[in-house]
Symmetry: C2
Amino acid sequence: MQRGSDCLPLSHLDPCGSETFPPPQKHEVNSPGAPAGVSRMRQTVIFYLSYLLGVALSLACLVCVCVWSARWRGGFAWDGSGLQFNWHPVLMVAGLVVLYGNGAVLYRVPLTWGQNKLPWKLLHAALMLLALVLSVVGLCAVFGFNNANNIPNLYSLHSWIGIAATALFAMQWVAGLAVFLLPCSPTSLRKLLKPVHVWLGGGILSLSIAACISGINEKLFFVLKASAGGAQPYSALPPEALLANSLGVLIVAFGLVVFFILSNQKWQRPDSRPEELAYTPLLQEENE
Amino acid sequence: MQRGSDCLPLSHLDPCGSETFPPPQKHEVNSPGAPAGVSRMRQTVIFYLSYLLGVALSLACLVCVCVWSARWRGGFAWDGSGLQFNWHPVLMVAGLVVLYGNGAVLYRVPLTWGQNKLPWKLLHAALMLLALVLSVVGLCAVFGFNNANNIPNLYSLHSWIGIAATALFAMQWVAGLAVFLLPCSPTSLRKLLKPVHVWLGGGILSLSIAACISGINEKLFFVLKASAGGAQPYSALPPEALLANSLGVLIVAFGLVVFFILSNQKWQRPDSRPEELAYTPLLQEENE
């Protein structure tokens, strides 16, 4: 059932007990009864199917939120009107959910494993920075709309959860840059903070999803009301409500796929391959 | 830095790559530079602090939601009125969040590790069954209220996410009973489904939290409106809004603590201790 030696040298163990736990051997022993190559191939196929499903759900979320804002809510502007508000759902879904989720699973793509980690660290940081910028612009859109229309800011639970998600995201990005990219940060700090970075990363995605669901729900109650002109209320589930509810379901489905990919230990990047590491200041702790 | 031998026998590896990955050794090697006993003690202290924080947040959530329904919303009844609706937030928070989250981290309590797993499996199943029953009664409360007041059921995104969380929870409980408790289920099926059970368990908690946040947000917009009698709208953040928003924050904080406990591999139950296992039909796959 198992190929290779009968023991794993303890020197390969990651001291922080995180994702670098001896991956090459994990891939060999995880499917008793099946040859290791077949098991590895099956894992790769399941990963890419999950990853493609995540990409498809990402695109579906973006299409849905853009169609909702552009087709049903009148389009976009930056003039303090409702058209400025329309940037808010688009930018929050694009930044805090779609880009964030795709940035989170980047290290899991097997295609990236044969190369140094540094370019992927930089891409992870860049994707997350872009996600953060989109989210902050999305917040500016709603603050500007509220201020222009004398609506108080930050009173609803939706806004509390959304602002907490964005603030934690900003802190997480700055801490990630300082601890995992800057060459001066000590190894012990990286080892200490990596599990916290991974846990808080998942927590921020959960908060983002909760903020999206409550925001879509709130918006539909605000705008879908019965009128003398024959407009249907939210409770009659008119086409706009179906579309926006479906957007919420797509966001939740995307989050579940991201958590599925992150939860599978077999899909973690095999970082403990010392032969891949060459010394440069930034690469000195490449296998953290 | 490390005590014990220099290699781990591969025969101790859990074939499904899940939480039974050689735990006794993990505890020994995860803190280079510190004696293993000190490291283990520090992990135990951090676990119990996190666990106590989770218990404190559980109690705070229950107190908050009960005070909200009893003091601000008029109390409880089962007569189709708003007093029947008041059971809905209390039972959903108690079942789908508090009991569910505490049931999820049960296996992480080190006090339970020195004993056979079966009683804890049964307690896990019982806690989850109680959580499911409370959730279903909580859904009955709102369906009864809606039906008595000619309000359509299941149109809002909040209701879609909430019903999906409860339905997935029911499926997860039945599948968990069939696969992990009934003695007739094959070992290969247990190994295949355990990671799915763990992932879906976390996903259901995320959905529950999203449903709670959107439900609290929606309820506050419904009931807190400016009136000639001087009632303050939600946007003025009256005391009731502060209380219910705080309930949402407590729910999110509880969820983050649960995910923190679940994400730490060092706190997983060391199931691969064959000396603990005695044969009975239910115990035959105790280390799954």
